[in-house]
Each structure stands twice: as structure tokens, then as C-alpha cells.
């Protein structure tokens, strides 16, 4: 099936062995919202990825099965199908197909075992026929975790958002307020332009080196100065380092997308900031010292007006039609 995509984005790369089909998408959507995938049928993907919060959970650190505290903040899933490089804050998964295998078996998330899960699905009166149709399976024994991953990936690739105010301004269908326009000018360093006009004297926010449109991430790893570290071994959560195998990558995290960011707080990998105002306070101060802090993180010197304007710009990245579509889809999933 052909899922329409916005003109402004380079097209999603569909893996040749998992094209999206109507049956696969419907199955993936049902699985995403179904607590059946957890050990005691209390936790679904949507417990931590709520559509009304652009698929986040309002918690600093996610809480999984039996109230167990996880390790990190749940990222939003807006346009997650466009993140074709790596997934997770530390980039430890390569694609949505394999990513989905992590939470089900994670003792702090869904706490299940794949063996158990597969036997549940094989016996299931609704799901088994759906797997049969979606992937052309013939024997129960063919159903394995890979097909669950594939179905969930198909659903998540359909989470496409391109109708925020920011997008509409790009398409010439809306205009920024004066405050939003100032925030846009700070975010995109318009003071550097030769004909910056009224923006010539404003600070450059340096945001778009890392949060570059259309997805507001460069999908790379950086240390944006959250924690002071006199030694690279000092980071409480080393992030990328253990995955890449280099201590110079300790304290680096994958640059998150900022789409729908006004809905996805609290912020950062550990949910340390409750509001966008606190996030902007952090960047305005230039971050804390570590020798691998990204050199683009510098003190900004924002005036109170400029500070508010940057927050106002970030709020233009909210796409309410995307959010309500997700909510409608979740409500249409009956109990199975």
C-alpha cells in the first residue's frame, strides 16, 4: 500500500523485506495498543508512547510493568520512520523492526519473554489469522518475533506529521506571529545572513546545527552540555560511549527530533527539564563543561523577550491533527 508522504521530506526508506501492507499496518496498530504483549497484560507500547502526547508518557523516566522504573525518558514517535540511521537515545538499534524486540523482553518495560508471547499469539483467535494474512504464514511454527517486529514497524512508519504551524508557514499557508518569527530567527541563526535586517543584532541560537529540519535532528550523537564532567568517566549515564566503544562518546546522546516538542516533556534523556523554558535556560547558559561538549553549544545571551520568542517558535512545531489522528486510532482498537 502507498502511504502518502509530504513533498518536503525525503521519502521513507521501506525495507525490501517489509513493505507496508494494509493487513500488516492494521495488525501493527492493534499490537501497539494491546497490553497482551507484556508478561501480565498490563503494559502496552502505548502505556509509554501515548498518542495524545505525541507518543510520550509525561514521565521523566518511563515506568513499566509492576511500576518498575526504567532507565531513560520515552522519546516521541512523530516521524520515527524517517530516522533511518539509528534508534534509541544511544543508537543501539538499527531499525524499527529490531527495535520493537527490545521493550517486550525488557524486565523494566513489558517484562515478558518472547517464547511466551509467541505461544500466546499462536493460540490467539484474532491475531493468528491476521499474521497469516499479513505475512502469508502457513504454519503456526512460522510465527516468530520477527513478524511482530515487522508489524509494529509498519504501524510506526505510518506516524507521519507535516501539518504543524511551522510546516504550514514553509508551505506559505500561514505566517508566524512576530514573536514566533523572532524565535525562528534565533533558532536558525538569521543574524549571520548578509541582509539580516532587523535580526542583524540578535543572538544566534546555533540550534539548527543539530536540530535541522525537516525532522529537527541530524540523527548524530552529541554532548549538549547537560552535566559537568571533569573526566569523561564521570557521566552518570554514559549514553553513546558503551555502544560505540569509545569513552570520548560518553555523555553523548542522539539528537532528538523536536517535532511536537511542546507535548513531549519532560525533556532530555533523563527527563530533567520540565518545561521548554527550562530547556532554553540551559542553552542560554551555554551548557556545562566537559571536554567533549559540542563546540556549537555556547552562551547565547538571550534577553527575556528573545527567550520567550524561542519557546514560542518551538511551540509552532506542534501538529494537532497528527495527535488527534493517533488518539482516534487508539480508541478504535477494541479489546481483543
Amino acid at each position: 500500500m502507498n502511504i502518502p508522504e509530504p513533498e518536503a521530506f525525503a521519502k521513507i526508506i521501506y525495507p525490501p523485506d517489509n513493505p507496508t501492507t494494509e493487513e500488516g499496518l492494521a495488525l501493527g496498530r492493534a499490537l501497539f495498543f494491546d497490553p497482551l504483549l507484556s508478561a501480565d497484560s498490563t503494559v502496552s507500547c502505548s502505556t509509554c508512547h501515548l498518542p495524545e502526547l505525541a507518543f510520550t508518557d509525561r514521565q521523566p523516566i518511563s515506568v513499566g510493568i509492576n511500576g518498575r522504573l526504567g532507565r531513560r525518558n520515552a522519546p516521541g514517535l512523530t516521524n520515527v520512520g524517517y530516522l533511518h540511521q539509528t534508534l534509541f537515545w544511544d543508537g543501539r538499534a538499527d531499525n524499527l523492526e529490531t527495535q520493537a524486540l527490545h521493550p517486550v523482553a525488557d524486565p523494566n518495560e513489558m517484562g515478558g519473554s518472547w517464547q511466551l508471547m509467541i505461544s500466546k499469539l499462536r493460540r490467539h483467535p484474532v491475531y493468528w489469522p491476521q499474521f497469516e494474512r499479513a505475512f502469508g504464514l502457513k504454519e503456526l511454527s512460522e510465527l516468530n518475533p520477527d513478524y511482530v517486529g515487522k508489524a509494529l514497524a509498519q504501524y510506526q512508519r505510518s506516524l507521519i506529521s507535516s501539518d504543524s504551524k511551522y510546516d504550514r508557514v514553509q508551505r506559505g499557508e500561514a505566517t508566524f506571529t512576530e514573536e514566533e518569527a523572532l524565535g525562528n530567527a534565533i533558532f536558525f541563526d538569521l543574524a549571520d545572513e548578509p541582509n539580516a535586517g532587523k535580526y542583524a543584532e540578535i543572538p544566534t541560537g546555533e540550534c539548527a546545527h543539530c536540530h535541522i529540519p525537516p525532522h529537527f535532528t541530524n540523527q548524530l550523537f552529541s554532548n549538549n552540555g547537560l552535566d559537568e564532567a571533569n573526566s569523561l568517566d564521570d557521566f552518570k549515564d554514559p549514553g553513546r560511549g558503551p555502544i560505540s566503544g569509545s569513552k570520548y562518546d560518553n555523555g553523548k546522546f542522539r539528537v532528538p527530533s523536536l517535532r511536537n516538542v511542546a507535548l513531549t516533556g519532560p525533556y532530555m534523556h533523563d527527563g530533567r527539564f520540565n518545561s521548554l523554558k527550562e530547556v532554553v535556560d540551559h542553552y542560554d547558559a551555554g551548557g556545562k563543561y566537559a571536554e567533549n561538549k559540542d563546540p556549537n553549544i555556547i552562551p547565547l545571551g538571550l534577553s527575556p523577550d528573545q527567550h520567550r520568542a524561542l519557546v514560542a517558535f518551538l511551540q509552532t512545531l506542534t501538529d494537532t491533527s497528527f495527535v488527534s489522528q493517533g488518539v482516534r486510532e487508539s480508541e478504535s482498537q477494541g479489546v481483543r
Partner: protein
Amino acid sequence: MKYLSLLAFPLMFLFAGCMDDDDSVTGGEVATTVNFRAEYDDADLSIQSIAYDYPTGAKLKTTLFQYYVSDLELLPAAGGAAVRLADIDLIRYQSETDGSVTSRTYNVPVGDYVGLRFGLGVKPDLNAMDPNEFSADFVLNEVQFWNANARYVFAKIEANADLEDDGTFDTGLTYHLGSDAMYTTITFTGDFTISTTANPELNIVADVFKALASDTESFDISNPDQQRIHGMNQAIGQDIWTRLAGQFELQIR
């Protein structure tokens, strides 16, 4: 290692003319490796892990070095059309684990060659295109697109410097360079043969130090106005760009 000289060029041209016919009759292609080597002051570049001396007294740790290469081509001894190896590529060193060599392997027609050339940056016809016109995994979608006016960032050098010699690398240096006007073709002349038996290693060497400094004239990284060059603010960038483009070397082993 042999350095190619300008003098050898006309001679090779004459001799190779007839030998080449044989090669083109036998035809065929050989997998040939081009190594993009990054250095700092003639030593292998390391991202983060080494504190380098800078001539004006400071020390610095490089955090990123990258550049686009357009129209990477070999020049056949027999003349005629250049052999295109790549239309566009991004060479990037961003993690200690990347090492200092980025290798690419191309299928190259056997024969004698008298040189290699490439454009430093994104060639104008590609620079005119937006990222959404390309596949999401194409090198021009490595989010180096700055804005509709400034277009793609052709090269970046980033480092943290210790200006006060107090052991803290707390001054960020970020040089983001490029524009259509700055696009530069770099040509190396010299001879080498690609055959099924002799397969030279081609090394394109770029030295971050030489892009910024020399024994006599070094870019002043302690001047706050020279620590950050971005977007359309390319007046100071031109100096670094000229040095960057001028310091490339081809080494054939």
C-alpha cells in the same frame, strides 16, 4: 610512496598512448581503493583523543572534520573522457572510533592514468537541489543543508581549544564553510597504472592543521571573532577555505 611530478606528465602521455590500446582491448575493471586520510600536522588525525599543539600557544582537540567531494575522477593517459568514480561523497571523521582513514572502493577500468581530480564541496548543479529531491540515505541528506540561500555546508572543522593552558578545553571552534563561489577543483597530475596485477593504493590526504596554520601565518583562534564561522558569514571563512583547498595531497603507494 611516490609523489607525482608535473614533469612526468607529457612523457607518460606519449608512451602510454600505444600501451593503453592493449589495455582497452583486454578491457575489464579492477576494484581500486581510494583512501581519504586525515592528518594533523602530518600525523594521523585523531578525534578527541589527542591534545594538539597550535602555533599561537593554545592546545586543541578536534571534534569533527568533514568535507564533500564532487566528481572524483581519474584522468586516462590516452586522453579522452575522465573516469568518474563518484558524483558526490561526504568524508567525515566524527568519533575516535572512525579512525583517520575513510576508504572507498571503485571499479576502475584497467589502464594507465596520469592524474586524479575532484571538486572540493558540492558541485553547483547538486548544490542547487534540495535534500528532499534525494533518497533519504543519500549523502546530501546527511543534514548539511543550512538554508535556501547558504545551501549545503561544504566542509566543517570543529574543535575545543585550551587557550589559557589550564587543561580545560573550553573554547569552541566551529568553522562551517562553503558556497557556490568557493567550490574548488583540485587536480593532481602524475602517472599510475591500474591492472589486474598492479593495483596501487591511492591516498588523498587532508591535514586539518594546514587548513588553519603554518609556521609563518596561523589563523588566530584566540580572537573571539574567529572562533565561529557559519551560514553566510564566509568572509573570514574564505581564508580557511583557501588553505584547506590548497593543502590536499595525493600519495600513491
